[in-house]
Symmetry: D3
């Protein structure tokens, strides 16, 4: 079910075991060849297909498109939420529906920079409302193996305006990709230093990071389908009342 | 121009006299016959047509769909931002682009409950950044005379899931209107008391307020076109550097 | 009843149906001829006369004199609350008395810039405490018709250090008006642009706005009496348990 | 000079070496015999007389009457600011005038519970604005020796609705004192425990604390005059540019 | 008992009448001869000895070492909490254990600058949780008479990197004192001005204040033992259920 | 160098290329056999040995022991910071030293729950201060391969009161381990659901998680030494001015 399309009486009539699915994205620079809404578009598209497959188990909210993108602000057109604002927006969305007695919430995230604020927000809500079921994950984390197998470049996970994202956009919205401007970016490394937080202008010449030139619509379809399948499995398990319980 | 569709280099190339247009809406109950996204849909649609007419003078951001809707929370499916969250989201959107040296911002609002927080937010930003040009207004405030002339019911302004909003939705998205469920709502008055803030469950039986049954697609078109025209005029005046200067 | 004059036992003895009346004003520039406390003085004076007429139905708090006046800060002597501070002050005042089981609160506002924060504050409190009766309004909004009929200038509503405010001050505190310095202010308009928030230095030469030179004590008395009458009617209706219920 | 009485041009014309004096009080229970505004009334009265004596050296703001009075909330009619709200109100008052280039601020406090938030507020402002001269003190701290000599009861400092406060009110506002209801309060001690913060209902039967029955107008006059003299001396020293410089 | 050393089951097994003792200190400049941790070291040491004497009546938390030290920031190596951060840290510490049903909390403070935020924090918590027993005090306030009798310089109370603190450090951690660099500091006074808040660079040449050269280990021992004794007495009284009840 | 041990003049004399190292830990339940301070103890011990090896390149602050531990609050003795408080404490620590012109900061974290707030805090500071070098990482992340090779249980990474933590504590503080109470914990899994945030009482019987019974001091030494080596390498690289620059 799609919240934005429903009347309040239709929402009222839903089972409260319905899982509220909240897509999160960003409006931020994606190099000279992908639009600023890339993360929002992909998270929204993945969630829309998921919704069609398990429509009776979910209610999807609109996509939170203002992400935590401070590291991309050096590039024009990037919008970034403050931490306070991001946490408040997500919390209000969940708390509003919790007042209507929904108790299961799953965030499908399209922007890596949202992972930390998503986690912090849910942990805060969980501490105050231990009976809620709360989850979050990047859409790409549901298909890490397929992504690693699909990508040809030496980087085997999703980066930013990279082989994976270009592939997904060529699959979903080929008309939005400036194909003639696709380029690889990210300078040669000289050190294994791993702990630093960086502004994106410190690690990329023109805003992208990875082997964007290797992207194809076929790879995009394979990744997309795998993500959808992973999320559908997760939703069916949560809907069935299954929770993570151990280590063996 | 549409920010979400652009790459950062395309944004970078824009004139900084471009007016950033930010639509604001809500996800809130609109009676048993209109979808929760009604305000968001109308504000987005109005802005989209405006953008086509003055494309070289504006850059439109995505619509802020999480409104200040606490008074509608008694009805399921309503989402409401905290004041803090709403102000932060709007401020971050503006401040992000101000870092990129845009200096003109205009909010086109689709939800009456956002007017106060829109005003407060802009006043705060203006106080700290007196050189910015900042404006906000309900889309319906640009065509109040046409609205008054168009409506047949005794209420001559826009209310909530009313003659005007039903008309606009029948014009824009007739398939989203549950036509068989349209009803008037709002009880008979017994007093001129005017100062009270009310929960929407205190003034409506099923969430709407006004003569919804009088709505038609024709009225919707007339109102819609007048709003677009009014906003286009406002944008052209602001773009030309005209500011309000006096009382005569 | 006047809270500041009472002992706690006298407050304790009051009926909890008593309406708590909270005047709000400002300390802000009012041109070269009215004192900074003008809004505070008028709101306090109106409320004081109201209190005498319906003493057994109300308990008046001291006037909140630190208003939301950021748009007047370019002129010396203006004090302005932050939004956070204003909301907190008003909320604390109401919540303190709500702890003592008072449940009806009415703000009588003397400064237009407080309307938005007054509204936001009450909406927040109402959302959390739906059983409270909460209202706010400018004192001048209770007599709009009389004001329009009384004013001779082409502006038929209250502005700032204008015909209406000068008239009220000449009626209430003639010794505080620098009569020889009264002047009209506000430049000739060149556009109908209506959406912009403005610093007061952008729309006035010396801080006032309107036909101040047309002010007289007689007009002030007529306006003042009408405001008092309007507020007394509102209080009596609220005290009788009447609430706004509909649209016909 | 009295800010509330001045026009902005008169403020503008002041020397920026003028000391801004901010009285702080409370609206809180003062036993069955003193009005809730007692602290506000005394702080305001002391400051008013001081202003007359050193009018050319000071500009007095209105009294901040919403104090930090949470410990008195168990008694009806007490209003209490949140810490956030109190700090914001005081900070905004100072920062507004600092924008107009005033650089000396002195708080004259009438409510002991405000001392900690006054201190914290000024320390925060000082840290960010090291060139400002910022001071705060209870009015009674300027005359501790005279107070100790004047009081006949075994408590030699000011408490709450006590010998000293009753005396001051009998001197300043005898008509506001319910003389027939004056009583001593505060139970017999059984321990030297000194570190605890207490609700006022834990240490007083009816809200007062001390030997109120010993209060007289004569004692009030002696204390009042000594406080005024102490504050005038402080102001003259600050105005002369004297600052605390050492330990000998 | 020492919380950091215990397992959760050992904490769970404690009587809930156990007093939670929270030492608070600072990391701030203490002149050229004492380490930045001086306040933290002394508060921790005092509390540790107290714990040994009344082990079955207390549970000691780690020392809050980030104090409110903005006035010392002009000197390198000083760390200072924001007021918000300090209040939150202390509140979270108390609220966490209140969730486990502990209800008695006593702060032993080693840094004068923490007194105001300690007070404000406890007052806020007390207002919301009137059944909690909450106390705070400087360790030195439990032995003011002994301190006054012990000090030879003309200042009879504790200051900063002064005779008393040097003595305590020579007693507790002589190896941490740069004995050859000890010096008196604080300029000659020229005025009785008492109300001002000051940056420490305004009242000290090199960061200390007082007759540091008079410090000895013997004085330190006498003061230390007296503080321990005073705190032990306080704890035993609170543990016995004694509370402050009056004025005679 | 160790900040707590230094005088301000010694800090002042340091090269500003010195890396400020901030250990972060927690006070939270670690099952029935490890003390609540486990994370704090390990992070502090690792950092202390690192400091000895690269003393001239670092200045270590005290360990932030109040972690983000809300998920452990169901077990007694757990303390948890609010997100606001945690972020403020860390931000104040960094900003205080940034005022003294230090520009390199590295957090060595001992508690997994701090990773998200550490990341968010540094990203916020970086956005406002792009010239600062800011890093954070769990101590265990510097030796993931050695940890995986060392652990015998089927879990190859660090968990909570697990094989790795027991080993480290047996190596560092064997006297603090309740050896007779060591037990494995964490129930048998029935699902691959991975997205949920959980209270620790939902996934553990008595608070630990992993094969604690497999812990040995020898494993602890191997892990400890590898962590120290990894951190030393990171510090030397950062100190040499090396930053992460690319993807090949």
């Amino acid at each position: 079910m799609i919240l934005a399309e429903m009347t309040w009486k239709e929402v009222e009539a839903l089972s409260r075991d319905t899982i509220v699915v909240i897509p999160t994205g960003s409006i931020e620079q994606h190099g000279p060849f992908l639009p600023t809404a890339t993360d929002t578009l992909i998270a929204t598209a993945v969630t829309a297909v998921v919704e069609k497959q398990v429509s009776d188990q979910v209610m999807v909210t609109p996509t939170i498109w203002l992400g935590a993108s401070g590291h991309h602000l050096p590039f024009a057109g990037t919008l970034s939420a403050s931490v306070t604002g991001y946490v408040e927006t997500l919390t209000s969305t969940i708390q509003s529906l919790a007042k209507h007695r929904f108790h299961r919430f799953l965030i499908i995230n399209g922007h890596g920079g949202n992972n930390e604020p998503n986690g912090i927000t849910l942990r805060q809500i969980k501490e105050q409302n231990p009976n809620l079921t709360l989850g979050h994950r990047g859409y790409y984390q549901f298909a890490e193996q397929v992504i690693a197998e699909t990508l040809e470049g030496s980087i085997k996970g999703i980066q930013h305006a990279c082989e994976a994202e270009v592939s997904l956009m060529l699959h979903l919205y080929p008309e939005k990709v400036r194909k003639d401007l696709i380029r690889d970016d990210g300078l040669r490394p000289v050190t294994p230093v791993q702990s630093l937080v960086k502004g994106w202008d410190e690690i990329s010449e023109e805003g992208s990071f990875g082997f964007a030139t290797l992207g194809t619509a076929e790879k995009g379809k394979r990744i997309f389908d795998a993500c959808v399948e992973g999320i559908v499995n997760e939703i069916e398990a949560i809907h069935a009342g299954v929770v993570y319980r151990g280590i063996f």
